[in-house]
Symmetry: C2
Subunit: 236 residues, 2 copies
């Protein structure tokens, strides 16, 4: 399966101020497309860190997605960092400017220098549609640069995912078992050992003071998944 990494550019996540919700949106969309989300990194709004991380991951993965830092303010440095990572120029592009202009009643006056920062696109990039607030994301090489605002991020994911080369969609199913993991561990391990092609995870949760276990099986093979689920349901 093709691989992907996500880079969350986010002082606000690292400080604990904000709960990220974008990882799950991207993860689910990639799974349905048959692309494995192999790693997520959350890094600070720092030029050297962003450039280094983008260059490291774009060499390792089929796709890299970034979230955050493409707005109009001083702390929005992602587009410049991406240009630096790819060693290309960056400037206000006419197509991006025209798209931005559709968001304003009086573009001549409303497209301030700050807002025009959102039309600065690295040379050679293609735009990613933003149906919410117009300011586009962009793709350069295998790197997809998207907004951090959750509604806009989700809309950009919907724009970009269908354009990517996918594999067989990952299928998953799960069974909730009201036993402790300590009891389940041995028979569960036997099932997992019998079916090494199916990823089987065991996730305990506390419910009303007792632990219940959700056992999740994942595979791209529907028949094999059904076989494993039947075995897992015997444990319940």
């Amino acid at each position: 399966m093709p691989t992907a990494a996500m880079i969350v550019i986010g002082d606000e996540i690292l400080s604990g101020r904000t709960q990220d919700v974008n990882v799950q949106v991207l993860a689910q969309a990639l799974g349905a497309r048959g692309i494995t989300l192999a790693e997520v990194r959350v890094i600070p709004d720092d030029v050297a860190t962003i450039v280094r991380t983008v260059n490291e991951l774009r060499g390792q993965m089929d796709n890299v997605f970034t979230s955050g830092g493409i707005g109009p303010t001083h702390d929005d440095i992602t587009a410049d960092c991406i240009a630096q990572a790819f060693d290309v120029g960056i400037s206000i592009r006419d197509d991006a400017r025209a798209i931005l202009a559709t968001n304003y009643a009086d573009p001549e006056n409303d497209l301030t220098d700050a807002r025009l920062r959102m039309a600065r696109i690295p040379d050679g990039a293609t735009l990613i549609d933003n149906p919410i607030s117009k300011a586009p994301g962009f793709t350069i090489g295998n790197v997809h640069v998207m907004a951090g605002v959750p509604k806009i991020f989700a809309a950009m994911v919907e724009s970009i995912i269908p354009t990517l080369t996918g594999g067989a969609p990952m299928l998953s199913d799960e069974v909730r078992i009201e036993k402790g993991e300590g009891t389940l561990a041995a028979p569960l391990g036997e099932i997992a050992a019998r079916h090494p092609q199916v990823s089987i995870g065991s996730y305990p949760r506390a419910v009303d003071g007792r632990f219940v276990v959700n056992v999740v099986a994942r595979s791209t093979d529907a028949d094999l998944l059904a076989t494993v689920m039947a075995e897992l349901r015997q444990l319940a």
Copy 2:
């Protein structure tokens, strides 16, 4: 300030099945202790990836925290990976076994081989208290290995944070401004440029179809933070 990285060991996060909530808990606790959370990585339940990531980050950071993979089931491989990363042995330890035993009515019979996996501790590690379900986490070198279940993770964070060397606690304040970022960007950039020692972030959100901006200032210097906040409130 001392630095930290967090490694979320979690197929369930990367598949999109589960929303991580542990990052924010750790991030806030570290900020209050004056430790900078400099990076988070979410990686799969894969031995080579875990070993490589732990070794890379423990060399770069003052502290590394892991979450997930220390239960009794076949997919709980974190403790073995940590032993491998540090190139030390791992075995059932009497103190960990004694703590586990307090969780069961009939330890002689209830401490099955599966449950005893939770008493396997890398040589040289010290235990991290788990008041919820007893099975301990552990610290080896600068790496703190904790459970993924949110309630247990949070309890372990409370156990371990006070034992770490902290710096000046990071202080933050914010103001909500009902203007677009495009309007705010120029004056905000001037304030940020005047106070390079204060980290100022601008976070737009959609509220009832309009964008409002939360501007967050962060500093370890209370007086400087107050000065900057006064300037920021002038923009509202």
